[in-house]
């Protein structure tokens, strides 16, 4: 059921603005994969192109070898849910009408599951979609994305507007459904610390380019913080790639990236405290150089 998504030297421009710059990327492992990037980095452009909603200025995007643009064979395998379900915000129809439409359009639609999610998310079939609150509309959009069971499913900031308990409920539903029906799921989110534990692979894009693509477990092992007496910390950290440093009196903390395999052991032997850097922190450090919003 898990398809192979491939982007080959994809470049996209909006007029003079370069949104994606020579992106090549392959995703073929089942998993919930994270697409991370700051505002304006190109996440939404990438997802829109992959969904076949736009034609890339240059390069090829294929799903199992099939071009995605204007190709029903490919796009019927793809579902994209965008920010707060923006595509549904003007629907004057009811949730029930929306479900009927999805049932007709989505080849892998699971109606029984959609009904269970309605209960779980406390949505009523009778409600008009445009009368829903932002959070409710986000829940409905995520429901459509989950129950569509598309082999390639993308959530682009889909749960913006949900409160924290609802977001956690969505993560649980996403994980459960992924385990029952493994497929390719791509999620972009600014709530990285909340969802990073679910990620199998992480892609970081910055200024329209893929800055990093690797397994979440490997990425988590790449950043390390050392805390202890400044002189001891400096001695161990000498020559390492330092992302940030802070001092408090005689205590120093440094965040390191891509450290030598034996550094952690040496640090502990020297009596320093060590900790792995969470993915969110790695992301912040790697992309912090810009001053954009």
């Amino acid at each position: 059921m898990t398809p192979t998504l491939s982007l080959d030297t994809v470049t996209h421009r909006y007029g003079d603005t370069l949104a994606l710059d020579d992106v090549s990327l392959t995703l073929s492992n089942p998993g919930i994969h994270g697409l991370l990037g700051r505002n304006g980095s190109g996440k939404t452009t990438l997802m829109s192109l992959v969904a076949g909603l736009r034609k890339a200025s240059r390069g090829a995007i294929t799903l199992d070898g099939q071009p995605v643009y204007e190709n029903f064979a490919a796009t019927s395998q793809i579902c994209i849910i965008r920010e707060s379900g923006d595509t549904t915000s003007e629907w004057t129809e009811t949730i029930n009408d929306g479900l009927t439409l999805a049932r007709d359009m989505r080849p892998y639609w699971d109606d029984a599951y959609a009904n269970r999610l309605l209960d779980r998310f406390q949505l009523s079939k009778k409600h008009k979609v445009n009368a829903l609150s932002r959070g409710q509309r986000a829940k409905f959009a995520c429901l459509l994305g989950l129950a569509a069971r598309a082999p390639l499913t993308m959530f682009d900031e889909s749960y913006l507007g949900m409160d924290a308990p609802t977001r956690y409920d969505f993560y649980d539903a996403l994980l459960e459904d992924f385990m029952a029906h493994p497929r390719l799921i791509l999620v972009s989110s600014h709530h990285i610390e909340e969802i990073a534990k679910l990620f199998e692979e992480v892609i970081i894009i910055e200024d329209g380019r893929v800055m990093l693509h690797e397994s979440a477990d490997a990425l988590r092992g790449r950043g390390l913080t050392l805390t202890g007496p400044a002189a001891a910390v400096d001695a161990i950290a000498a020559g390492a790639n330092v992302l940030s440093e802070k001092t408090l009196g005689s205590t120093k903390m440094v965040a390191l990236y891509d450290v030598a395999p034996d550094l952690e052991e040496r640090a502990r032997a020297a009596g320093l405290e060590t900790a792995l850097l969470p993915i969110q922190d790695i992301f912040v450090h790697l992309t912090a150089k810009r001053g954009k919003d």
Partner: protein
């Protein structure tokens, strides 16, 4: 639920080992599945699978195809014996270093030990 001192898969593996060592998990008892672990801790199932793979490699668990993972019969003894080997370096050594650092008289430590042994004869 997890600290950030080591990778999540290693922390899961350590917890299962602790359960085996203290008898919470008995020999030949089935452990929860990868997916159950993933749901419970809200983590990527591949991370949970990595913990299980490590435990199978180390001989703590064994796999029965199509059924699941089980505790290896000799695992508890092996883990306890391993802990015993490491006890002086990993536990008692640092405790004695600490005692020295804060100026506790070795005589007091002997007395403490003698009193404990008397109170709790083995």
């Amino acid at each position: 639920m997890f600290d950030d001192r080591s990778p999540i898969y290693r922390q899961i593996a350590d917890r299962i080992k602790a359960d085996v060592a203290n008898g919470t998990l008995s020999p030949d008892e089935q452990v929860m599945s990868t997916n159950q672990y993933a749901s419970f801790y809200a983590i990527n199932p591949a991370t949970a699978a990595k913990a299980f793979a490590q435990l199978v490699d180390e001989g703590v668990l064994y796999k029965r195809r199509g059924v699941g993972m089980f505790v290896s019969p000799g695992a508890r003894e092996a883990l306890v014996s391993d802990k015993r080997t490491k006890y002086f370096d990993a536990v008692l050594g640092p405790a004695l270093d600490e005692a020295e650092a804060i100026g506790i008289d070795p005589k007091d430590i002997f007395e403490f030990l003698a009193a404990r042994t008397k109170r709790d004869p083995k």
